[in-house]
Each structure stands twice: as C-alpha cells, then as structure tokens.
Point group: C2
Chain length 195, copies 2
DNA sequence: CTTGCAGTTCAAGCGCGCTTGAACTACACC
DNA sequence: GGTGTAGTTCAAGCGCGCTTGAACTGCAAG
C-alpha cells in the first residue's frame, strides 16, 4: 500500500490548528442547519487549497466511508465542492469552490421561501374560514391580519439579510477566493447596504 | 367536574381556523430554533386576546400538564407572555405580550453572538498556532485570514437583519399591538417604541 | 473470468432533545 | 391538622435525523 502513515489510526490525525478551523466551520454551518460534516469537509478542502481524495478526507476528519460519499455528493449538488476524475489513478478528487455564501444563501432562501409561502397560505386560509363564521369578533380578525403583516416584515428582513450577505461576500470582492479588488485595499469589504 | 365539554377528548379541540394559525406560528417559531409549543402557546394567547388559564391552554393545544408549566415559564422569562394571579379563584392566567420580535431578536442575537465569539476565538487561536509552525505555507495562512473576514461579514449581516426586523416590527408602527399609525383605534395598550 | 479496490446505498443503530406523567410542593378551605 | 386542587420538577420514554458498516455496483488489471 502507498500510505505509510506514521500516526496511530485512532488519534486525531489533524494538527490542532487545522482541527480548530474545521470544527469552527462545522459549528457555523450546523447553526445554519446544514450538517456539521458538510462544513468540516468544505473547510478542510478550502484550507488545504488543493484536491483531496475521499480516503484523505475520511482519515483526516475521521469519517466513515459512507459519510464521505454522502457528504461530498451533497456538497457537490450545491456547487460548493467540485469533483474531478484526475486521470492518473482513476480516483476521485475533491476541491472547494470559493463562492460558499452564494450557495448557502441560495439554499437558505429556498428554505425560507418554502416556509413563508406555506405560512402565508395557512394564515390566509385561516382568515377566510374565520370570516365565514359569525362568532369571530372583529378584533380577533384584526390580530390575524397583523400576524400576516408580521410575516411579511420578517420575510423582507430575511431577504435583506441574504442580499447583504451575498453581495458583501461574493460581490465586487470575492472574500474567499484569492481575488483582491485592485492594487489598493487589502480587505475592503464592498459596502453595499447603506446605513 | 366542572368541564362539561361536548367534543371528545381526542379530537382537536380548536376550530380549524384557529388551529391553522397556531400551527403556522409554531412552524415559524420552530424554524427560529424555539420550541414549537412555545409558538403555539403564544399564538393562541395572542389570537384570543385575553387571559387564558393553564388548563385552557392544556386542553386547547393538547399539551400535558408539565408541558404547559414548562413552556409558559420559558415564555415568561423571555417576556413574551405575562402571568397574573387574578384574585378571584387563585388561578394563574396568561396573556400574550405584543413585542414578540423584540424578544425573539434579543434571543437570536444572544445566540448568534455566543456563536460568533467562539468561532472568532477559535480561528484566531488557529492562526496563532499556525504561525508558530514553519510548515504552514503563506497561502494557507491567507485563506485562514479570509475565513475570519467571512465570519465578520456574516456577523454584520445578521446584526443588520435583526436591526431591520426589530425596527420594522417594533418601531414607529407596532404591528402586533393595536396601535396603528394614524387612526388610533380600539385597544390602546399604548406602547411607544422609540427607535 | 476473477480479483481487488473505489465508491454508493440503505437498513439498523445511536444520540440528543423534547414530552410525558407521576411524585412532589404550595396553598386554600374545611 | 386533613383534604383537594393548581402548579412544578425531573427521570424515563419516545421520535427523529444523522452515522455507521456491510452488501452491492462498477471498473480496471491480471
């Protein structure tokens, strides 16, 4: 075999600083309702900056064979990781895309959209049903109305957030890729939202 | 027993339109990582617009005794529901507060803050450790740096979202209370929210 | 064709947090 | 004091989604 590894199999195979980064990203991604291991895989690929094989991922992150397969497929479907069949040995290699936020934003937006549409429909149906009855006092109807307003307001705020996050991150300055805006400015985050 | 209810115990004791609203709020609140039943309880209290006893909540929402106790206590701690010991029969009654978003915003902000601070600390520690070594190439350090930037950007976007949501909802026009901008109408729980 | 490795699939297992319900406390009334 | 009702607490149970690992597919070399 071509893997004469030195360290024991059970010990954490990652240097501490890499582990810290990987776990940090895992935690954040988990917070956004993705799977922790999706974040960990992406983080390692991004940090290393080169292609890694499934076996390398499996060992570095202590995942099972199945988990690597699942997680990479999902990341690929979202377009945050790409896979290449590098000719030499016929083994798949994975690489991180740098427009993470665009994709995360898209997914979050889709989820939020689905939720809001459902809620909106339910509230409207409830209102219709309530108006058909004669035992629902007008102040109750008014509050039902206000809930619809609240829903709309939250929806707008969420879309604003996504817009801001994606523009700031993926816009003029691509934070994660190496592309810097011009000669000047090391870290000028493109300020898009006024205020 | 003083509760000669007509319907069977197992059937949904809520008219459909109310159930729709209650479940819709439950779904939304769950999406924001609160407990579904917290949303359901608040929604019913808000919709009814009057105080309800624990027993009424329990029956209407088909909750256990313990669940009502827990959920109401949590809602109370967050200040979205208030409890009053209405003298007559020495029974607790609950009422919905209308500044829901302020509280939800506060809680989300606290959570997000905790997360971001932890992640920030970890990334900085990772960077320090990495710089102490001689085997970490500069491009890797640069990417680590960029991750820190990304974290800061996301953090700003989240705070922007919370700011927007709270201002829009709790600001000049208090959406959930009865206070309307011009024509001030019926329920004057006159809440004035300064920016 | 057989062997062996890379990768995929999916049923079963596991972990984790929510809910239940019974025991317990508090308090009012007799 | 005793009895009854309202409310609280918390260990055990349950549900649900993620992970595992073994069986399976596919492919390339012998």
């Amino acid at each position: 075999m071509k893997k004469p590894r030195a360290a024991a199999e059970s010990a954490a195979p990652l240097p501490e600083w890499e582990a810290l980064v990987v776990e940090a990203v895992g935690t954040v991604i988990e917070f956004w309702r993705f799977k922790r291991n999706q974040g960990r895989v992406w983080a390692l690929l991004y940090l290393r900056g080169r292609e890694l094989t499934a076996a390398e991922l499996q060992e570095a992150l202590e995942l099972s064979k199945g988990a690597v397969s699942m997680v990479t497929r999902e990341l690929e479907q979202w377009g945050v990781v790409s896979r290449s069949h590098a000719g030499s040995d016929g083994v798949w290699r994975f690489r991180a895309e740098t427009d993470l936020m665009k994709m995360v934003g898209r997914v979050i937006e889709a989820r939020e959209s689905k939720l809001v549409l459902g809620v909106k429909a339910d509230l409207e149906r409830a209102e219709r049903l309530a108006r058909q009855r004669d035992d629902v006092p007008p102040d109750v109807l008014a509050r039902l109305q206000r809930m619809k307003t609240l829903a709309a307001v939250i929806d707008r705020a969420v879309r604003g957030f996504l817009h801001t996050a994606r523009l700031d991150v993926g816009g003029a300055v691509s934070v994660l890729s190496g592309v810097l805006p011009a000669r000047r400015a090391r870290r000028t985050s493109a300020r898009v939202n006024p205020g």
